[in-house]
Subunit: 345 residues, 2 copies
């Protein structure tokens, strides 16, 4: 019954409570509303009292209470970013870009990862959406309708996906693929294999279509080889199919597949790029760890994250949300050692 009963309270709060505008008002000898004005609408106040108020604020180490402000304004100055897998190297550049752009505009990034089903993703989105001003979905497995539903509550931007009525950030694959095919054509290759990603992957199809178009333009042949999963092990497993495809250059759906394939080929004493050239997509962290380094068609992931955050901010500023803005977001070829001249027959 004693006041010591709730020992937990004491243990947490030798912390001094944060100063409020009332504390400042008292210290500066003015009204709290004057303090608020001095701090949020500078210039509307006599220079002298403004001085005093700022001095008092600094002395008390004042910073606004975001909750109080949010309660009134409805804005949290926070952007949520939901990714499937934080440790996927494709994502941390996106995270970085979004965080950078947010911080630039004095916004804060809230990050969440869903590792399971679309159900988990929806759960996560629902959990986050009340506390953010907008939501970025970096690799959503949600249905278009679900995404549009979220967008009715708060601004939503998707990355690497196209959803009607939703702002989406997608890098244009064509330039990078064109560079890659031109590069390979210049090296004398005439038959290309594409190790595809997951059947359901919209991105994988886009990449394949782009390759088809570019090879056709260069008078080359292209063949698509289905793979199991976009991971290294699956890449290794593709070696036989690749070897029997007759292709002298392989483009894999992503770098992990490419690296696995390359390791397996080298393990079988197939020279890369002597006997076969290998390219990946994404230019992930570590693509330069391999020997030879992996030539890759890279997307500007950081920029994608930045544009996504910027998209949220501009919707908050009143822009329509259905504009797809891939402009200025293009892939490009990153040349390393895994591509070389077509072997003499």
């Amino acid at each position: 019954m004693s006041e010591n009963d709730r020992g937990t309270v004491n243990a947490v709060s030798p912390r001094k409570p944060a100063a409020t505008i009332y504390d400042i008002a008292q210290l500066a000898g003015v009204n709290a509303s004057t303090v608020s004005r001095a701090l949020s609408t500078p210039g509307r106040i006599s220079a002298k009292t403004e001085q005093k108020i700022h001095a008092a604020a600094k002395e008390l180490n004042y910073r606004v209470n975001p909750a109080a402000r949010a309660l009134l304004t409805g804005r949290t100055r926070t952007i949520g970013l939901i990714v499937a897998d934080i440790t996927n190297p494709v994502f941390f550049d996106i995270v970085r870009g979004a965080e950078r752009e947010a911080a630039e505009h004095d916004y804060t990034l809230v990050l969440a990862e869903f590792r399971e089903s679309a159900e988990t993703e929806m759960f996560t989105a629902r959990r986050l959406i009340p506390s953010v001003d907008g939501l970025i979905l970096a690799t959503s497995r949600l249905e278009p309708d679900e995404i549009r539903g979220l967008a009715e509550e708060k601004p939503v931007v998707v990355i690497n996906r196209e959803v009607e009525d939703i702002t989406s950030i997608v890098a244009d694959v064509a330039p990078g693929v064109d560079q890659a095919i031109t590069h390979l054509a210049g090296l004398g290759h005439t038959r290309i294999a594409y190790v595809a990603g997951p059947q359901r992957s919209w991105v994988s199809h886009k990449r394949w279509e782009s390759i088809l178009a570019a090879t056709a333009r260069s008078g080359m042949e292209a063949v698509e080889l289905p793979s199991e999963q976009p991971v290294m092990q699956a890449g290794r497993a593709m070696a036989p199919a690749v070897l029997s495809s007759g292709a002298t250059a392989v483009i894999a759906y992503n770098d992990l597949l490419a690296i696995g394939l390359m390791q397996e080929l080298i393990g079988r004493s197939v020279s890369v790029p002597g006997d076969i050239s290998i390219l990946g997509f994404d230019n992930i962290f570590g693509a330069d760890f391999t020997t030879p380094g992996l030539t890759s068609i890279g997307s500007p992931h950081t920029e994608a994250g930045m544009y996504a955050a910027r998209g949220i901010l501009s919707i908050l500023d009143g822009a329509p949300s259905d504009q797809t803005s891939h402009e200025a977001l293009v892939t490009s070829l990153v040349l390393r050692g895994s591509t070389g001249p077509r072997p003499a027959v």
Copy 2:
């Protein structure tokens, strides 16, 4: 003057405002406070009205307004994580662990990156601290006093660093190093080189001390070689020093150094592990991209992030904040192909 003047407003808010407990109260025909109780203190309410309220809440798709709750309770259910560099592979596992643990307890992770000076870090911390319940500093360059100052406002936990009076999460290097040295001893090595990290790095010294102790115990020699920066290029530059050191096995301060060194050695036709064995620290993403794969002394980064978040939560629950809790957080050896028998002389 017309009501169309503020066109921006219209553009943003075809969005329906979120439902409040008042909306639920009206729909269920009860008072708002009853709704609040039904939702936050289940059981204190007649089963029948509780049913009605929950039904109404579901129908209106109600979720609490975090700002309102935070204003009242002083808790945001949010944990801030500040890292120097999101794209450093050591960090995303930390991020993942912290996010996972936070989500587990219905907390949300706020992420911020400072890429510059300690000044930027302090600025970032100050920006974040009003809106979070606690702060994790993953690689702080702040002075101990600065960190303690932050800890006066909100719970603070540091990772990979020890600060007096501050909960710190540091993996115990010894077990991993012991395993590594035992492994190398078993392979016949007797002279080890340590390619050190930055002079000022507390972690690098710890690693060196641990190596010294372990090698002494095994009757081996160890020599420390200073490097410029913990990056691949610097690792490449270490090749001559390593070769002239007389060591048959090298442990690098981190995997990037190790990979750079390995690439350079292989480029000089030095066989790895035939002529020299190489180990790194951290077991980063991509350590298996190299040929041979890099043997590395790994830390459980995900767990570190989890423990850090858990530390914040337990301080919030009333635990003292000065307990250093490295228990159960130990390094271990991840064996790959870059280590092998000592070459015959």
